[in-house]
Symmetry: D4
Subunit: 248 residues, 8 copies
Amino acid sequence: MDKNKLSDLFNKVKAGEVSVDDAVDRLKGLPFDDLGFAKVDNHRKLRQGYPEVIFCQSKTVDQVVAICENIAHKGNNVLATRATPKMYAAVKEIFVEAQYNEMARTITITKEEVKEDKGYIAVVTGGTSDMAVAEEATETAKALGNEVRTVYDAGVAGIHRLFANLETIQGARVVIAVAGMEGALASVVGGLVDKPVIAVPTSVGYGANFNGLSALLTMLNSCSSGVSVVNIDNGFGAGYLASMINRM
Amino acid sequence: MDKNKLSDLFNKVKAGEVSVDDAVDRLKGLPFDDLGFAKVDNHRKLRQGYPEVIFCQSKTVDQVVAICENIAHKGNNVLATRATPKMYAAVKEIFVEAQYNEMARTITITKEEVKEDKGYIAVVTGGTSDMAVAEEATETAKALGNEVRTVYDAGVAGIHRLFANLETIQGARVVIAVAGMEGALASVVGGLVDKPVIAVPTSVGYGANFNGLSALLTMLNSCSSGVSVVNIDNGFGAGYLASMINRM
Amino acid sequence: MDKNKLSDLFNKVKAGEVSVDDAVDRLKGLPFDDLGFAKVDNHRKLRQGYPEVIFCQSKTVDQVVAICENIAHKGNNVLATRATPKMYAAVKEIFVEAQYNEMARTITITKEEVKEDKGYIAVVTGGTSDMAVAEEATETAKALGNEVRTVYDAGVAGIHRLFANLETIQGARVVIAVAGMEGALASVVGGLVDKPVIAVPTSVGYGANFNGLSALLTMLNSCSSGVSVVNIDNGFGAGYLASMINRM
Amino acid sequence: MDKNKLSDLFNKVKAGEVSVDDAVDRLKGLPFDDLGFAKVDNHRKLRQGYPEVIFCQSKTVDQVVAICENIAHKGNNVLATRATPKMYAAVKEIFVEAQYNEMARTITITKEEVKEDKGYIAVVTGGTSDMAVAEEATETAKALGNEVRTVYDAGVAGIHRLFANLETIQGARVVIAVAGMEGALASVVGGLVDKPVIAVPTSVGYGANFNGLSALLTMLNSCSSGVSVVNIDNGFGAGYLASMINRM
Amino acid sequence: MDKNKLSDLFNKVKAGEVSVDDAVDRLKGLPFDDLGFAKVDNHRKLRQGYPEVIFCQSKTVDQVVAICENIAHKGNNVLATRATPKMYAAVKEIFVEAQYNEMARTITITKEEVKEDKGYIAVVTGGTSDMAVAEEATETAKALGNEVRTVYDAGVAGIHRLFANLETIQGARVVIAVAGMEGALASVVGGLVDKPVIAVPTSVGYGANFNGLSALLTMLNSCSSGVSVVNIDNGFGAGYLASMINRM
Amino acid sequence: MDKNKLSDLFNKVKAGEVSVDDAVDRLKGLPFDDLGFAKVDNHRKLRQGYPEVIFCQSKTVDQVVAICENIAHKGNNVLATRATPKMYAAVKEIFVEAQYNEMARTITITKEEVKEDKGYIAVVTGGTSDMAVAEEATETAKALGNEVRTVYDAGVAGIHRLFANLETIQGARVVIAVAGMEGALASVVGGLVDKPVIAVPTSVGYGANFNGLSALLTMLNSCSSGVSVVNIDNGFGAGYLASMINRM
Amino acid sequence: MDKNKLSDLFNKVKAGEVSVDDAVDRLKGLPFDDLGFAKVDNHRKLRQGYPEVIFCQSKTVDQVVAICENIAHKGNNVLATRATPKMYAAVKEIFVEAQYNEMARTITITKEEVKEDKGYIAVVTGGTSDMAVAEEATETAKALGNEVRTVYDAGVAGIHRLFANLETIQGARVVIAVAGMEGALASVVGGLVDKPVIAVPTSVGYGANFNGLSALLTMLNSCSSGVSVVNIDNGFGAGYLASMINRM
Amino acid sequence: MDKNKLSDLFNKVKAGEVSVDDAVDRLKGLPFDDLGFAKVDNHRKLRQGYPEVIFCQSKTVDQVVAICENIAHKGNNVLATRATPKMYAAVKEIFVEAQYNEMARTITITKEEVKEDKGYIAVVTGGTSDMAVAEEATETAKALGNEVRTVYDAGVAGIHRLFANLETIQGARVVIAVAGMEGALASVVGGLVDKPVIAVPTSVGYGANFNGLSALLTMLNSCSSGVSVVNIDNGFGAGYLASMINRM
């Protein structure tokens, strides 16, 4: 339930179109529904503009389905990240309109179209192996109504590949830079654009990469201004934040 | 030299008001001036909207003064971070209008007023000890033309102090959350607003704080959406990014 | 064998009701039984008020069964943690009264009811994924005779879910706060109650969570007073300590 | 302002002995006083039973004095930790009754005597070098009204020194075990008592001690039940928690 | 080939009992045999008193067999550590006298009995779970001719179990202390004996144990004198060194 | 397309032997071919003298085949590292001349023979277990046209094995030193030769090896001059760099 | 008071030469003297063969003097490590026979000559900078009655320097290998001798040495058998253990 | 004494121009001079082509002077790194020709000119603050006879500064890339040249830079081929290795 719907409700109450009891009924899910194992945060849409996203990792299939139902049955869109094919199959049985992006591991159920028309978000990756994380970011941003343009495998080892796509990158309102190994992409991109760059370190690599620590530290120490960092492999976080900024 | 000035110059050339030679002369500093020990990036204003900021740490007083002169004499505003009182004294001798924020350790020389009127940036700190970093963020954002409102010492150990200032925080277009020790502030704030939160871990604390590592990890792992992180104690980076977002 | 039984024995010896030889016989298990691969610490009940708990991880099924028998056949209650279903099946064959909590991975055999009536222990978790650890704490505290009330999925990203349960939390004599990811829950809870808070970091999360390191450091650096920390995922330790405090 | 005083006030208002305006006046400091750089948490006494303690590290002398005044002038006791001699001198000028424990680095101003008579807290250290942290714990616990008995330099390298003091240790209601280097003291003590043990790792040591990391990990991994851990060198935290438990 | 055999050979050459060519032939394997993938160090027995031990981890079954043959066919005893059952089966086909200790994961082939009669080595463990590492140490020390006495599951959480075996421990010429989790055993044992203590940290534990790091740091920081440390889980190294010392 | 071919092309255009359109056609792949998921860097051969090498880890079989085709169909040699047998099977179906080194996990397709005749590269390993990494280095260097001589299992624990091969090592133009565990090999070799030593730490070992961290730090801290280090297990990187130096 | 003295005392009591009261008086210091801030472990000489050594770091000058007096006045030798010149001056005023080794930072007071004549201990260092730690080891071993021979600056970067001193090293009964930076010395020495090698990592170095971590890991992962490790910079520990072994 | 001089000497002996005794006399310093605290490695010039370089850190002024004399009096050039002004002053008194580079902290004494004419080495830095390390590399390479060209402050945040100097960088035979903070420079440079790149991480930065760890990991994980890494701040090592490669 977003701010508009809420105002609408109050106006209707004021105008006598909706009884107080009915209004209370509609609102009673607020601020959260307690499923026992989970408290679904319905209030979030009011507070943050988008309903709670389901982080599926270390949840059971049943838990995921139950939370999906709770959200979707209120007419809200559903975005589930880190979802397994098995979870998707179970959700699909209930919601035929559910869609799965295998690489991104996301389930989406669209109850109402959302569309931002401010501009687009660019998602750039250092290598082919960073695509899974980039796709999670892309799916998230799209689910939140943004246009997304991707530039994959444009790492700094062959920097002309990056420059060949500079127009796409510089034309975006927000840039998400996804890179593993040494993660230098974020600094280089950060130096080339005048828009916020959200850096996503990935765990892609080996040896002294230490599961993404290397790229993480690189990005935190970026000598370019305008770069901030989210958790390793956190494509969702980057997509969500990019959308938040793009809406401004 | 920003985009407007540049267009202006080209228009004047076109109109015959400025000779080609003169135009070239004005532009010859582009893309950078080589001072030997430093290449001042004059192109940055064009690329990123604000001239190069001087990071004074591990530079000599003479180097800082030389870079200040190079920037200011082109009519650009100067922002120098991590500046010592000694550096300020030396700069002050040349630029009487230079100002020093002792807690923030910033020198500012204002050549032309900049003013954004989109809304304000909120800077929140967990404790009194985080103020130095918060002030660096504040000074940076102000130097870039933003209005800033501060809420200091509102950490989660006495969470009613945070709630008492919720209006200020929720009214901002961007929030900078500065905290040391366990750094939980960013997650709590992130859960309460629908605007981007830039988290700045500080090295304030002791023991298992490990010079800011604790707060850094906390913030990177934030379970709240819309939170991204900059380097430990990087008030400047937060202020710069916040300004970039606020301009959108 | 607890203090009361021991006094009782001595009194009986004194009164001539039990011969010295018999008394010695009953006590000969003290201070421990040597099973070769393990020395079952029968003395612990005297020293610490509860018989040795079996930590099943990296023990064989046979070893677990043997230790269960050793403890139970002296009439003591059994609590086995980190037990696999296979271990439970083997124990169940011998002790029909044995019970298994699958999520908590605990086996309990109750030989004598224990009941504290001082008040209850609250177990709060940040997310659904922290439930396994919370259940281990809960099972442990219950096995030691405590009443336990749980508040699951009340993390700080939607802090109103925590406040909605504040009464339960503030009414407890001891609070166990279980959280992964950034672990901010412990600090927030610690600031809201005037009772000891036992913080349990969990390994739930990914990336810069580093298998629980993030939550661990957060909790150790808590700016709230009255918070202490046990090992990552150590639900048992928290439940045991909470019971010890609740008995005071 | 504690619960009793508050009830008293309400009763007086009810009885007409205090006017509503006066009552409001007395309460207006609640929940905190905003000193600009700090928000003194007056509400804490109500919430947690003791007024805010001043953590002096990285505060200026003026800030410490100002907070002391704010607390003491409401008739509350003051406890300031990590205080320098300079801070003490400045506080002493205003409050002649202020006292300084040089080793503990604590300032105390006693406005009203508090006294718990439940039993005593034992503070045990591994070595002479751990005394500073132990004294901070001791001073804190005493300031909160507890009796404290200390057993210093009783580390496990000469374990008979520990056993010689076993009666003192086992007689306590809560034990604080303070140790640096390898920190084995907490485990050994934890195995010998049936009361909560609060382990405080210290940064005492060298080399692979890594500023207390060694003792910290040891204590977190303690194989003894009933042991929980606070931050490295956090004597205050241990003393505060011990007092909280001792009051139960 | 050890020193005695070598002197013998030279004496026989001198006495004309062995021709120079034959002598050269017998020695030609020295200093090593090159198997292509491995250079078997036959010289080691001369240099260090025992032929090369085979570290099987990350070797193929064929490689292990080939090295076994190379060593055994010179009449030397074979000790292979970290050997899988599969490796044992393959070796057993060639050497019927080969023996396997499943817990220790060692293969031994005895070509000539070795026997030290100086005294015995004590192997003490903190818990049942440390037995695999302890057995590796025991097998190694026995293979090198030492008497070994074991005291398993005598950790500091129930320190009376350790004291009950003090005589065995104090009677040894060298003590090997094997412990995981917090590893405090080494310090306590080190303080009780006047003989060298070889500490072996194990990776047994979870959470902040960090795969043995906790026990490793504890042991390195031991406040007891006479304690030195080998690598995590390095039972072989401890057994080898203990034997070296016991021979003195 | 290397520099010679390029000059040739321009000469032919100049001489009218190739039309401008044809020339453009041949060059249009430059600087890279965009396969969607990957941008194959054809320009690299010009820039760095050898076409892009395929790093197969975390790529799909289809992606690897597609990139192989893209490179080989331009007449360039193919080197694919970290290739699985499955990848090899798929590539083999298209390119019968493809070869697989199982230990090195490399696929090579030779389109044109390359041969350097400056001298040879020596690859030395500390143990048998380091061979996989050494073979990757060897295959890489050979694919780039170098003669390679290997000295395997020559670690410092039996240093005479190293000295027995000193001539081979000192005769090389570049030495690659591959070692796990403590990685001391690089320092010892570095002190014995007057040629560049490329040190490759391997993840071989256990315990405090921490997946190669130990060998990595050892090599970075080498007290021998002329030693530089590549990533843990990065045989390819060492072979590539060695070839680059050998060509000088 | 060592075993001989003790037996002597009992014999004298038996023979009536010493009254029981006098005997008790002489023994009453056992097992320790409580100085308040320290419990001097007089029992250690009986248990471990040498009286307690004073670790001066983070003790005050007064504390050091008091402990010296306590030990020396019983007729025991004193060894104080990590002693400052100031401490020495204060001790010297009371004990004119006190001696100071500035590089080793040790104070020694000799009350009775001790002399082992089993053989000598060799102390080898990698570089000149490791001498301080080596001297601490040397002084300790000498104070305990051992002959010590030193080979300084014989690191592996110029390995012929080591071989030139091989006779000295191989002739020792125990070898102490002291090295910073990459610490490869211990492995090389360990491969060359058939006696126990005690490895002492030093904090000498910079960068990725991380204050001795590099050398520590190297030594723990030593591929040579017979090597064990003490804490970083722990010359005392090495000297003490070497003496313990040499006495066997 | 290099190979030429040595051949010369032998020829003279052969020709009777130098007596055997005199020859022996000249050679007796080989392979090293033992100064007690240091063994000066005269053999190194023969083995590695350049006499031992003095690493002054943690040596005394007297030790540095003594080693300088030992080297220089044999007619060899001297290079001393990490030298303090005080050391220089002491050396200058004896060798008037000694020169000091304050930023690089190097002392050089030139006894014979060395000159390579193969090509030049490029030294590139990310920022002004990396200059000290770059100068150490430069001084070292020059002392070894190389031409060096520097490109300072060309970091990736303003990548056009790098491209403006591409010709200088691409024209070099070896490139040294010096960078702190995120160290991305090495990857970008590595992707642009076909010559070996020696990456030197510096400790310049703050926060999550962790004293150079960030840049170190970045460089080790470089996705560009042909990049190898030396220790943090190890300008000398880079210069030495670059010279070694440039001589090929």
